[in-house]
């Protein structure tokens, strides 16, 4: 007992402080919420969570470069490690727990069969550089997924290796640069057009490749202003980068005119496929005239987000860009698969290589399992249910919140903060109050073009009764905010989460990015240290 009190003192500032600030518990714990130190504060020399055999004695061949000191890793037993990370896991919100309406992120159900098949020894335990004769099934699996992606998008080719959406953007924009170079136009076409509502990755990608990013305005319907676009197009424009459905949750209704105008001007159309979930199985982007589009397998095709990755971002390419796809290419010769790696002859002039090995195989496996589970019929239903759910949320909230644009929307419902005018409650406060009600907040302050934006993406994975409860919670919160006397209450939210609002200014002003004995001396109070 004494020892457990000491442990909490080291973390929570002593019995008195923790009893005062933790609703009166001596330990600082609150039932299922257990306060948890860093591993570096809990190890003991002599403990180890693995049993390894004694190494055979051999002559040292390390060129005299043995590590002189210790590494500094703490010693813990296996049960301690299990408890530590289990306790940490309980401080996270997750799709497995409920509605996760994070717009632009497509937080849909992550099926467990995907995890199971990715762990089959004949799939998960393969070396990327085994002789190709021993990995024929793996290459066939990648090609099968490629076939689905091409067919679902109506595009002739796909580059599978990009590791995530932003990496896919890099791949697609490099392919555009390569196509321009082949035409001798790379030096004169230096401008990339992107709406102000674009994901930050779009301008970041274009700028990295030496393009100047020029914003194109939106019209009052939340779509690209076609006249302004046409005026911006000229012989200096390399490409347009456009998300469709766009980040306001709307379909670009003039997209065919947009792609025609872009192509007439000699430029290419990069489509950001982050919102493909709204149209998968129902609309083929290839029919809209795009030249390339990345597909976030961790959004539309359910591979888990994993707290920020890993993802996968295959890029579908038009006939004009297909020859420039990066290595590796998976090729079928007769009934045998092979991998065309750097320097190998292929039907094109690859732009180079973007990633070691063959791409995010573990994500390919999960995505293909998801796709095969749904089939062509189920995927169409996915898009329809995702769009239906978002429109339902929009319809059920439009009298109390303020939709940014007139509907119908696609798979996301976008609101601005005008319904909070004069309440003293901000978008941030409103979002934090949702945490206390048991929900992950929606995406806030994005897209940038809408004031105090709140972007709600329910996905197809929620039952109607769960949507109704979510809608009910938001309606209650708006009602409370509109009393005009609840600002303090909102600003104090969240109150019931493992931590309350965190001081982000302090974190940035005096960055502590690792545990160090000097920052965290034994017996000191880490909280006070950080606050100083």
């Amino acid at each position: 007992m004494v020892q457990s009190l000491d442990r909490s003192q080291g973390r929570a500032g002593g019995v008195a402080a923790s009893a005062a600030s933790n609703h009166g518990t001596f330990t600082g714990n609150r039932a299922l919420q257990i306060e948890e130190p860093l591993i570096f504060e809990m190890g003991q020399p002599g403990r180890c969570g693995v049993d390894l055999p004694e190494p055979p004695k051999v002559k040292d061949r390390l060129n005299g470069l043995r590590r002189a000191g210790t590494i500094g890793l703490p010693g813990l037993s296996e049960p301690q490690v299990v408890q530590h990370y289990t306790r940490l896991s309980q401080k996270n919100y997750a799709i497995d727990m409920g509605v996760y309406p994070l717009g632009s992120c497509t937080m849909k159900h992550n099926p467990r069969i995907n995890e199971k098949v990715a762990r089959l020894a004949g799939i998960g335990d393969l070396h990327p550089l085994q002789p190709v004769s021993t990995v024929q099934g793996a290459l066939e699996l990648i090609d099968r997924l490629a076939h689905w992606l091409k067919t679902l998008t109506g595009m002739p080719a796909v580059a599978m290796s990009p590791a995530a959406g932003a990496h896919g953007e890099m791949c697609g924009m490099m392919a555009i640069a390569a196509a321009l170079e082949a035409k001798g136009e790379r030096a004169k076409r230096k401008v990339v057009l992107a709406p102000e509502s674009a994901h930050g990755t779009n301008p970041a990608t274009a700028a990295a490749l030496g393009f100047t990013v020029k914003p194109i305005p939106a019209n009052d319907r939340g779509r690209v202003d076609l006249a302004a676009l046409k005026a911006a197009l000229g012989p200096d424009v390399a490409a347009i980068m456009l998300t469709n459905p766009n980040t306001c949750g709307l379909f670009e209704s003039e997209i065919v005119e947009i792609s025609k105008a872009v192509h007439d001007a000699g430029a290419y159309f990069y489509c950001d496929g982050a919102n493909f979930n709204a149209i998968v199985g129902r609309v083929r982007p290839g029919d809209l005239g795009i030249d390339c589009m990345h597909i976030n397998l961790h959004k539309t095709f359910s591979t888990p987000h994993g707290g920020g990755g890993p993802g996968a971002g295959p890029v579908v390419l038009s006939a004009a860009l297909a020859p420039y796809a990066p290595y590796p290419w998976i090729v079928k010769d007769g009934d045998k698969w092979r991998v065309a790696e750097d320097g190998a002859k292929v039907d094109g002039t690859p732009l180079g290589r973007l990633k070691a090995f063959h791409g995010q195989m573990g994500m390919f496996t999960r995505a293909l399992a998801y796709i095969m589970s749904h089939g062509a019929d189920g995927l169409k239903q996915v898009a329809e249910d995702a769009v239906l759910s978002a429109n339902y949320v929009m319809a059920a909230l439009k009298d109390v919140m303020s939709p940014a644009f007139e509907g119908p929307c696609m798979h996301e419902a976008l609101f601005d903060d005008s319904f909070l005018k004069d309440t003293g409650v901000s978008t941030l406060d409103f979002a934090k109050a949702m945490i206390d009600e048991g929900y992950h907040p929606m995406t806030m302050y994005f897209p940038l073009v809408v004031h105090g934006a709140m972007l709600i993406e329910p996905t197809e994975s929620q039952a109607k009764e769960d949507l109704d409860q979510f809608i009910g919670a938001l309606r209650s919160l708006t009602e409370r905010a509109k009393t005009g006397t609840a600002a303090e209450e909102f600003k104090a939210a969240p109150r019931f989460s493992p931590r309350r609002r965190l001081d982000e200014t302090l974190a940035a002003r005096k960055p502590i990015l690792r545990w160090r004995p000097s920052n965290h001396p034994p017996g000191s109070d880490p909280m006070k240290q950080a606050a100083e």
Binding site: P56, D96, G124, G137, A166, A178, G307, Y392, A508
Partner: protein, 448 residues
């Protein structure tokens, strides 16, 4: 369909609340020419879990898994034993199905393990600060070159011939399209390369690998000094991170940026991905780093907590002026990486490294005793290069035909270079046994 909760009755009711006649009304903004009435043709319909699992078993049956054959391939991806606890932890739904921790109040689990991860990376590499992961070692290496170019405002990177050929290829690709100069030294199979004389006032960075692609263990202290004297940065790449349990860390040699492929710790082979990139540097370069960073702070009650920080470097804030376009990284693989060394601890990590070195030593002795086979390495950790009396690629095919995954012919990654045609790269980790090594040696004797 088992993943879709809405019933037809739900859908009708929802449509009536919306005021739409059918779901088609909701797609009215899609141009008529692109509206598909029916499902997309030529693709199969939905299937049950049993059928899906069978399909994947069929894919798996067409592959030879290293667990079922003598196996000695490394070259940037290493087969280690991953404790069961690691895979259990990453399958907890609270970790697996959570998003990037943008709402810190309800993602302290992710944020705290990333803080632990960042600390582990600094300890292993001997550096001062590390980010919350990159996609993998290969892409991280290119990000390091871009960072060095930003810091030095120079645009010439010297790339060692001991760097993994695919990593070299990615740098070369990025150099071509992003506009800087990458000077690639020739393949350094003997481990004798000296780049000191090549460093000049235009050099932004030198990129080396330790142990090198060919397995040599090098001391880069003097190279670091030469870089710093010329105002350039030294980037040290480590593709076998277990080696850091035994070897002098790059930070002690004077490295300015260290990039590692973290797959070896906690993450399986997975046919090449997803893996996890470790990225570490000096405090003074913190604000030029790509990727996410987790920092310590306090909450409204004064309790310690963690947040994503210094995000003014990143694309979602800084847009075209960001240090990188990276957004999604390798969070869950970083968790696997974090749990494994936590289980190992100081004693376990060191012993794991000793075991790897010992197994590789045994293999080197056995293989180099074969007549006509020459070991090129005086030094190595768990991987080395041998020169065969004939081209290595057909030898490896012949070994595969005998059910042995016997190393990587260097020519696969460095094609059209006669100087590497006969070279075979062999790795042995703690998973290697005499029962695997002896058949390899016997088979090599037969096919040579």
């Amino acid at each position: 369909m088992r993943y879709l909760p809405l019933t037809d009755a739900d859908r009708r009711e929802m449509l009536s609340v919306i005021g739409a006649k059918s779901v088609d009304d909701l797609f009215k903004d899609v141009p008529a020419s692109a509206r598909l009435g029916a499902k997309i043709g030529g693709l199969p319909d939905h299937q049950g879990e049993l059928e899906v699992e069978r399909a994947f078993q069929a894919f798996a049956a067409k592959n030879v898994s290293p667990g079922t054959a003598p196996f000695f391939i490394g070259a940037g991806a290493y087969r280690h034993h991953v404790p069961s606890t690691v895979d259990y932890m990453i399958q907890r739904g609270e970790f697996l199905t959570s998003y990037t921790p943008y709402q810190p109040e309800i993602t302290q689990g992710t944020l705290q393990y990333l803080f632990e991860f960042q600390t582990q990376v600094t300890l292993l590499t001997g550096m001062e600060v590390a980010n919350a992961s990159m996609y993998d070692g290969s892409t991280g290496t290119t990000e390091a070159v871009l960072m060095a170019n930003r810091i030095t405002r120079r645009h010439k990177a010297l790339i060692s011939g001991g760097l993994h050929p695919q990593y070299r290829s990615i740098i070369e690709t990025t150099a071509k399209w992003e506009g800087f100069k990458a000077v690639l030294s020739k393949a350094d199979a003997e481990g004798l390369e000296d780049l000191i004389a090549s460093v000049d006032k235009d050099t932004s960075c030198v990129v080396v690998q330790n142990p090198s692609f060919f397995g040599h263990v090098r001391d880069f202290t003097k190279l670091a000094e030469a870089c710093h004297a010329a105002g350039a940065l030294l980037i040290v790449v480590v593709t076998e991170v277990v080696s850091l349990g035994l070897l002098m860390p790059p930070g002690e040699m004077g490295a300015d940026i260290v990039v590692c492929e973290g797959q070896s710790i906690g993450n399986g082979l997975g046919f090449g991905g997803p893996y996890v990139g470790l990225f570490a540097t000096r405090d003074k370069y913190m604000r030029q780093m790509p990727g996410r960073l987790v920092g310590e702070t306090v909450d409204a009650d004064g309790k310690r907590g963690f947040v994503l920080t210094l995000s003014t470097r990143e694309q979602h804030i800084r847009r075209e002026k960001a240090t990188s376009n990276i957004c999604t990284n390798a969070g869950l693989c970083a968790l696997a990486f974090t749990v494994h060394p936590t289980l190992l601890g100081e004693a376990g990590f060191t012993r794991l490294a000793e075991l790897n070195h010992a197994k590789a030593s045994q293999l080197a002795d056995k293989v180099s005793a074969i007549s006509g086979v020459k070991l090129l390495n005086d030094s190595f950790f768990n991987e080395f290069t041998v020169k065969l009396p004939k081209p290595a690629a057909p030898v490896v095919e012949a070994l595969a035909a005998k059910g042995i995954l016997g190393g990587l012919p260097v020519s696969r990654l460095i094609p059209n270079d006669p100087s590497v045609e006969n070279l075979l790269l062999l790795a042995a980790t703690e998973t290697a046994t005499d029962m695997g090594m002896d058949p390899l040696v016997a088979a090599l004797k037969e096919v040579l």
